[in-house]
Amino acid sequence: MLKPLMFLFGAVALIALPHGLSFSQQEILVFLVINILLVTSYRLLTLTGEWSLGHVVIMGVGAYASALLTKELGVAVPVAMFLGGITSALLAVLLSFPLFRMKGFYFLIGSFAAGEIIRLIWKRFREPFGGVRGISGIDPMPDFSLGFYSFDFFEPVSYYYFAGVIVLACLWVLWRIEKSPVGLTFHAVHWQDKLAQASGVNLRAYRTLAFAIASGFAGIAGALQAHYVGTVNPNSFDIEVMVFVLTWAIVGGTTTFYGPILGCVLLTVINEIVLRGMGFEQARPLIYGAIMILSILFLPNGLESIVQKFLPRRSTAKSDRKAEA
């Protein structure tokens, strides 16, 4: 009885949320929703124990692909977004061949290098990527009406609802994957790859699977962003953004599904409301760095460990799972 009520309350809160905010805050809200998908998809990759520095570039691949598909080939925007995700996933499969010859720290550096190569390709080739300036004038999502609500995509509120529904659907899929035997296998690959392999798990296949899924959803996040902002350029997917994603994930904690989301929401609120309000915006990387160090020192298990203290504990194994990661 309690659970459906809580869902209902949550849904009402999410629907009502933008109406209490200013226009610029509504815009931030749209980015927040997109970033939640980005950081949650990133977590799926970390389940197998691999941390990538190329995730934001992969998101950019989805953005570029979706932008080009609509601009050059006239594909309908929602279809292009989906195909953007597919492109990212396929590229991840391709990248997995060189990258998964490495593990751990080497994979981290390798993924960074791969990301930079992709960014250089965007910069180098005017056709079709638009060079340093990127692509502008990307088709916005066409307006449509559901009868009870008309989507007007010049309004951030409309885009918030649209992106919100897509992101919720994606989160649901990611959640289902994690709670399935496939998700358990990801954990197994992380904790004892040799034992997992002795149980018949194809390590390469599962690492690639996690990488492809994470990349696919990052690509969808990128496409959502591209059609909202209207432009994409190489610098909007550079390492600075990746550091933000890492900070969200680490400050939030990656043990639980909601940990990275918590980190993303809290740090965005701090950034946009507090820092922007106080005029410290330029110092964002500095302050993010400080927050990351402080949280590693004083909250090594992330914000989620605070939440877990107040929630009834279901299984000790789950809450301690990533304690030493």
Binding site: R176, P181, W191, L195, A196, Q197, N202, L209
Partner: protein, 255 residues
């Protein structure tokens, strides 16, 4: 009792070191086969080649006539040859039940699309039933919700076997399963292995505990310095002059 599992001229060279040199022996179906030898004889290397952990420098491993040498570990496992590890190699952060569920990976192969849509209920139920069955077999039923890393040493070893057993193996390769066990635990473990054998599982055992080896094995292969030394039943091996010499040191090795 034809050639179920056969090593043919198995050789492993690490740089200048011949770890295993032209080793040949056969494992009969449904038997418990021991592999013994002094430290450094190449038992674990042999074991690692059989499980696909190493690729032999030369030689063949024939399973029902098929050469499985050089296959990846999961490919070997999928052909029914499942290994356990020395020490307590487990998914320490997962629960006992989750450990056993990973063991059911082969009989209940996860399908990501079915999992998202929810069409794999029966598979999940089947996998859980199999996992619980394996845990019960090794007396771990009361501990399903425990974190594997929190178990006692004896229970961890049993869980390692349960994970392997959950996959319905034809052959279990056990790497020193009795290490660090007290006599009572050893006795219980021997009993479990006899039950595995009664289940039709072929067991190949690398072990130092002579009491367990002699009490358990149908056939014993003894290695020394990477080479085949002797083979036979427990009584035969116990009195074999070459084996005694290898263990106690004959004049040949003193120099």
């Amino acid at each position: 009792m034809t050639d179920f599992l056969e090593m043919r001229g198995l050789t492993m060279r690490f740089g200048g070191l011949m770890a295993v040199d032209g080793l040949s022996f056969k494992v009969a179906h449904g038997s418990i086969h021991g592999l013994i030898g002094p430290n450094g004889a190449g038992k674990t290397t042999t074991f690692n080649m059989m499980s696909g952990f190493y690729t032999p420098t030369s030689g063949q491993i024939l399973l029902r006539g098929e050469d499985i040498s050089g296959l990846a570990m999961h490919e070997v496992a999928r052909r029914g040859v499942v290994r356990t590890f020395q020490h307590s190699t487990l998914f320490a952060e997962l629960t006992v039940l989750e450990n056993a569920l990973v063991g059911t990976h082969m009989p209940f192969r996860p399908n990501i699309f079915a999992a998202i849509v929810g069409w794999d209920r029966e598979d999940r139920r089947g996998a859980e039933a199999r996992a619980r069955e394996a845990l019960e077999f090794f007396g771990l039923s009361d501990l399903v919700e425990e974190r594997a890393g929190d178990l006692s040493h004896g229970h961890q070893r049993a869980l390692g076997l349960a994970v392997a057993y959950a996959s319905h193996p034809d052959v279990m390769l056990l790497d020193e399963p009795f290490t660090g066990m007290n006599p009572e635990e050893t006795r219980q473990m021997m009993e479990l292995m006899r039950r595995l054998k009664a289940d039709g599982i072929t067991i190949l055992l690398v072990e130092h505990d002579m009491q367990a080896i002699m009490g358990l094995c149908d056939t014993i292969t003894c290695m020394s310095f990477g080479k085949f030394l002797a083979e036979g039943g427990p009584a035969e091996i116990r009195h074999h002059p070459a084996v005694i010499e290898a263990y106690l040191g004959g004049a040949r090795h003193v120099a």
